[in-house]
Every structure is written in C-alpha cells, then in structure tokens.
Symmetry: C2
C-alpha cells in the first residue's frame, strides 16, 4: 500500500490532467501561487500560521516512485512522454512563508510558491491539505492557551481526530501553539513532543475494586501516579485516594494528581480539592477532561474551579466549532504577467505579495499592509524566503523556537484580540499599488 | 519517520501505562470491549457503519517494530521485561462487527472485541480513530446520496480533509455510501475507486485567453473534456464552449460537460443549459461544485436546477455540521464478569451484546433490539464474527459488495428516516435481560 502521507498521488486528479495540458503546450514558465485564508471563522480574532515544515518536507521529497508511475501507466489516461516527464519531475522552486506561529489575518498570504507552472500546480492539493489543517488546529489551540492562563494543557484528541496523520499533526499544531504535550505516543519519536497519559475507566473496571486499580497503577508507574477517580462516584474515588496515600507514601510513591472526566467538572473539582486538602494532599493536583474547549476552560476558571490542568480532545482536534477554514491557493502571476481570478465572491488580489506589520510604541501590533512583493511600505515584512531551487535555506525550525515566537506574538496582540470574544477586525490594508493593479487587470478584462 | 497509519505508537500513552499495570499484575484474562455511538448528531436519522476493513488490517498487522521498541526503551518509562512483552505482542482475539454499510443507531455496538485484556485495551485509540472517522463521513455522504437522487456525485474534499489519510479514507467512506468516485488520485491504486477531475481556475488564468485554455485542455484530454467556465464570467464561458464545439467535433472531440464553481449555481445552471441547448449541445452535462452539502444539493434539485452532477468537498470530508460522533469503546466484560461504567451521563449497558433487527411485511425495518450476546429475540442478528485468533474469517469485502448492501439498506429504511429532515427516533429497545443485568450490577455496586 502506497503511504498517503508521502505520495505525489495524494493529489486531485485535475492536477495531473492540467499537467498533461501544460506539458503538451510546453507551458513551463514561472508561476507564482499564494496560499491565503479568505475569512476568519465566526468569533475568531486571528489565526496562527502552521504546517510549513511538513510542506517543505513534502516539496523536498516530491517524486513519482515506481508504484506511482505504474499507476499512471495502467490508468490509460496519459501518454508515455508525459509519464517520462512525471518520472523526472522534482520541485525546483522557491518558497516564501510566514514563519510558523505567526499571528495572521484574512487576505495575507501564508505561503508564496514561485516555480515552473506544472510544479507549482501539482503541489496544490497537498499544500492546502497540510497548511490548512495545522493552521486550523493551531488557531483553535492558541485560544485554549489564552483561556487556560498557564494551567497544564494536554491534547487528548487522537481517537476522534480524522485519521492517524490528523492526530499526529494536531499534536504538533497544539504543541506549537503552547500546549504542554499530547497523549499521542507517536508525537514523541516523530517530533519530540512530551507525551502524557494515565489510565482509562476500563483499567478501573477490570479490577474487582477501585482501590486495587489505584494501587496496581501506582506500583506499575510510580513516577507518574495520576488516578482517574470518576468511574463510579467521584468523591468516593477521592476518599479512596486519601486512604491509600499514606501507604504509598511509606513506599516512597507520591500521588501526583487525580483526573475527573465527567459530571460538573467545576463542582466536582471543588469537592475533591476539599477532600484532598483536608487529608494534607494539597500538592496532589486536579486534572479535568471531557468535552472541553476554550470556552469551557474559560468558564471553569472564571467560576474559580480549582483545576490545575486540562485534557482537551475531540473539540480541539476536530476544531469542532469551525472544522475548516475558507482558504485557497491561487495563481497570482504567470510568465511575468499578474493574474486575477474574478469568479463571483471569490476574486483574488493579483501578483506576488508581501505583508508588512506596524507596531506602536509599546511593541503592540498596530496594523498590517498587503502590498505587491516589490513595494516597500512602513513596517516589518512578514514573508521570508525559506526555500530556493527546491532546497531549504535553513534547518527545520525547532518546535521550541516556534513556541517562543507564539509567546512573543501573543504578547504583541492588541488587548481586544487576545480575548475569546469577537473583537473589531484587526486593520489589514490593501496597498494602493495592489488596488491599482487589480483595477488595471479588470479594465483589460478577457 | 515512523508511518503513523501503521504504527502501534498511534495510540494514547495511557494504553501503554495501563498495559504495564496489567502486565505487572498478570491481568491477561479475556476482555470484551464494544465500540458504539451514544447519540446521533442533531438532525441525523441514522448512521452507516464504516471503517471495519481498515480496523481488521490494523489488527492483523499489529506489532512493535524496531523503531517502536527503541522508543519504548529510550523513553525510560518501562522495564525490560515489559519491553520484551511488547516485542512479542500480537492481536490474537476475536472480532464481531456490523458489516460495513449497515444502517445503525445509538446504543448498538458496531464492533465487539474479545481478546486478552492488554490486547483489547491497547487497540482502543486506533480502533476509535478508524471506525469513528469513516462512520462519520459515510453517514454524511449517504445523506448526499439520498439528496442527489441518482445524479453523479464526486468527492472533492481532499484539500480540506484533515490530512492525507483523512482524504483517502473519506474517499473510501464516500464511495461505499454511494458516491461515484473521488478526485483523490491515490484512492484508485489504494482502493480501486474511480477518480474524476478536470481543470482548475489557474489553468484558465495561465492562458492569455479562456478559449485557448479550453482548446488546450480538450486536446490534452480528448476523452474527458469537462471545461470550467466560471473563471471570469459564467455565461460568457458557456458561449465560448459553444463557439469551439464545432471545431472540436470536427476533430472527433466531444465536450462532455461544463463545470460551474461559484455564484448562484441554480441560476447559472439554468442560463448555461439554455445556451448549450440552443447550440445543440444538449448532451453536454452541467457539473456544479462550491461549498455543497446534502442540504444545498436538495435545495438546488427542489428548485429544478438542470444540474447533472455535483462535486462535494469541504463540508463533506470534514462533516462540517457534525465534525465528530459521540462514540466510545468500553469494557463490557472481564474474566467472565460483566462490567459497567456508571460515570454521570456516560453509563454503559454491560456485557457482550447482539443487535436484532425486525422487518415488516414489506421488508421495511420495523425496530431493533439490543440484547446480551447469548439472548435470542425476534429478528435478524446484525453482528457477525469476522475475525478469530487474530485472523480474518473471510477475504476483505469488496467496495462493490458494500455499496450493494447500502442500496439494500436504504431501500429498507422507513420512509421518514430516508429524508434529510429529522424523523422520530427509530425504535431501539434494550432487552429485559440487559436491563436486569445492569440493575443487578448497580445493586452489588462497589
């Protein structure tokens, strides 16, 4: 079976039929495409660029292997000449991008591809597939980070993520946005992301007595004793923890925490906190999970729930309130001429572009301007060249470096945009040069 | 890089910490777990079981390879004895399941796993990950199939699916539900699913004139001429198709269809149909795409839009109105004793179960009963044994066989449940035997 994550056949058929057309016409001039988001989902104030490293990996390794060429031959859709062309096809282009973890807004290109037309075209499907998903998830995760105000945050979403790759890439997007780790084991060997985990209800149920389950778990994982106490009755579970704590302490085992996964999490946390504190277990933390998202985390903390950490799963890894972004990858220039799609409701700003960000005297973001790539306006340019001639210009960025960037970016956000509530749109201006170009292209319309 | 789709590390860490606990205690008795959905998403009347073949593949090939064992060693979490145990671990259990494409309802197990406790536990995360996603997507896709009343339906969702595996498995789920094919090329070599594709706006924009783009595409793909006509002005695009049709016809090339991807699809389709018909191109079909789902398809056909086929993408492959199902995989029996989780709002019916379906005199579904596995009640049992001792009991079912089952199942659905509007809940009864068992377990509570 071909590995979907690494195959050039993870693409839409029309890319190949278009390539055949370009090939037949010898249309191999330089094209510029850009990936951008058209609109923020309702209630969101910004998004966080993510997924670039996976895109660069894909571009560096793009090639049709034997299995893929065999499919192309057998499909009967293509001539031998075109199949030979596919066999030799590599990505030799240039990539400009917002560094991962950059706060960004609609109409701002996250990635600009400059390459011979067939290459820039072929990569569209997987490019969107990679950038869209991690940007989607990181943009949701960062809202949890803002809501949790420093509490421990662990991604629990693997099981309801849309497949294994979605679980793994969601773990990465969550971590770069500021989560402390994930339950998805593979994220550790794949990305060096810390993994977290305790026990499920089935572990408790498999034992005749809840107390035995707690003791067995503590003995098997003495450095990581977090006990799930809601299988039968949450407060009774907490009292059982209190009962066994001295016995485990005598063996040198400390109960690090308890987890609550059902019912009114705030109310249970208060009662459990009281039970633990009364027994002198004030160091034992309370970890909550179960259908959480940024709004529920915010509400729990606003009501003063004594919760030290949150496991956030399904609603995060599926971005349940907004399971997709309205994003696109569009041709902006071909053979030296700017291009513009004018389809109703889907018109694009033409030509290769740059984004410039201004800051006020306190280092807060004050507004962005989208310009033609060769214009210069006030501010810092955000898109940087990361690949040339199909080769990365630097090592892959570490996730720690990206996390540090996210912290800086969040500190620079206008106050209104850091909250969960909808803020007035952040000012993004389209430069006069870009507007004039669009108008000129419309005048000479087809 | 470890392949996420095929690694036992695509799991939650707590599975491994629990396994270490079970291993330390020698808890290897037979366990029964079941996967089920707790509630239908709002507005849905049933769901369609899917994903079983990928689960059986996963179970047959489950093993810790060198890379995974190296991770386990280096992680410092586990003793050598446990790591040796992981190295030899295989799935040796039994699987009962609803055949893929079976219509089903909340509280009915889709899959029952009977295996030594650690095996049945370890597989939880990926089992849910696989069954949840395809069941989610097939359950949405079948609504599109019902809405489209026989029109061509093509999955266009790869780019906004949550990763490459999601795109590929969504293509499979859509096809088994009754779609005609997908744009995801890999679905053809991977699953034999027909793939469809034409051109993007960028193909048109890369040409100086729209007409040249149409001609070049027709010459490059003479057997598959479907032209995208909305890049600049939909009706003008249709007139250009009319202009070139005689010239192409003279070369023996037929324009199979046109695609419209923006604006008021119904209104454009009517105008384009008139333009084509007037020019004698009544055989040229109209294919529509752009933000479609079952409700928009239904609305377009209800208003008589002359659309012959639909490309359905983002809203389908992300199941945008319900991006997850409230599903679970729970311990039902261990070491001969039925088990029951009683967490608030999440209580389960205990023990291994069977589902029995009754039909009326016309072959219409009349009601289901969920029983203990060893009970017998009126109706046909739906769960069948598909794996024993870790080996499939039959060849993988063909997608064509599953599609035929879906057609039969839809024909047997009560009329109210075939519509897109919410119907009264389909009758699912919990047997007296099961209720008595649950009550008895509650009485002897912990």
């Amino acid at each position: 079976m071909i590995d979907a994550s690494n195959s050039p056949l993870t693409t839409d058929l029309y890319q190949l039929t278009m390539l055949a057309g370009y090939h037949a016409q010898g249309m191999e001039d330089e094209a510029v495409f850009e990936f951008f988001v058209r609109d923020l989902p309702p209630g969101r104030n910004f998004y966080l660029a993510a997924g670039l490293e996976q895109l660069l990996d894909y571009l560096e390794h793009l090639r049709f292997g034997e299995a893929e060429l065999a499919w192309a031959r057998e499909s009967g859709r293509f001539g031998d000449d075109f199949i030979d062309y596919l066999a030799s096809l590599r990505f030799t282009g240039q990539v400009h991008a917002l560094p991962e973890g950059t706060v960004c807004f609609p109409d701002e290109p996250l990635v600009r591809i400059t390459a011979p037309l067939p290459q820039a075209q072929l990569i569209e499907s997987r490019l969107i597939n990679l950038l869209h998903f991690q940007t989607l998830i990181a943009s949701k995760a960062v809202r949890c980070v803002l809501a949790a105000r420093g509490r421990l945050l662990v991604d629990f979403g693997l099981r309801r993520a849309h497949g294994a790759e979605a679980g793994l890439l969601a773990a990465r997007a969550n971590y770069l946005a500021g989560f402390h780790g994930t339950s998805d084991v593979l994220a550790e060997p794949a990305f060096g992301i810390p993994v977290f985990g305790t026990m499920a209800h089935s572990f408790v149920e498999a034992h005749a007595h809840e107390t035995d389950a707690f003791l067995h778990f503590a003995h098997a994982q003495p450095d990581n004793v977090v006990l799930l106490i809601d299988t039968y009755d949450t407060e009774r579970g907490a009292r059982r923890v209190v009962e066994i704590a001295p016995r485990l302490a005598a063996e040198g085992i400390r109960i690090k925490g308890v987890r609550i996964d059902s019912g009114d999490l705030g109310e249970h946390a208060r009662r459990v906190r009281a039970i633990l504190d009364e027994a002198g277990l004030s160091e034992t933390t309370i970890f909550a999970s179960g259908n959480l998202d940024e709004d529920r985390i915010h509400a729990l903390l606003a009501q003063g729930a004594p919760i030290d950490g949150f496991g956030v799963g399904t609603r995060l890894d599926t971005s349940a309130d907004a399971p997709y972004l309205d994003c696109a990858y569009k041709l902006m220039r071909y053979a030296g001429r700017p291009r513009r799609k004018r389809s109703e409701g889907k018109a694009t700003w033409p030509d290769a572009k740059q984004v410039w960000r201004r800051f006020d005297g306190q280092g807060r973001m004050a507004g962005d301007t989208v310009t033609r790539a060769d214009e210069r306006v006030e501010g810092e340019p955000l898109l940087v060249e990361v690949m040339r001639d199909g080769r990365r210009l630097r090592e892959a960025e570490s996730l720690e470096a990206i996390r540090a960037r996210v912290r800086e970016q969040l500190a620079a956000l206008p106050e209104a945009h850091r909250g969960l509530d909808p803020a007035p749109p952040y000012p993004v201006t389209i430069s006069a040069g870009l507007r004039e170009l669009a108008a000129a292209l419309d005048r000479e319309a087809h």
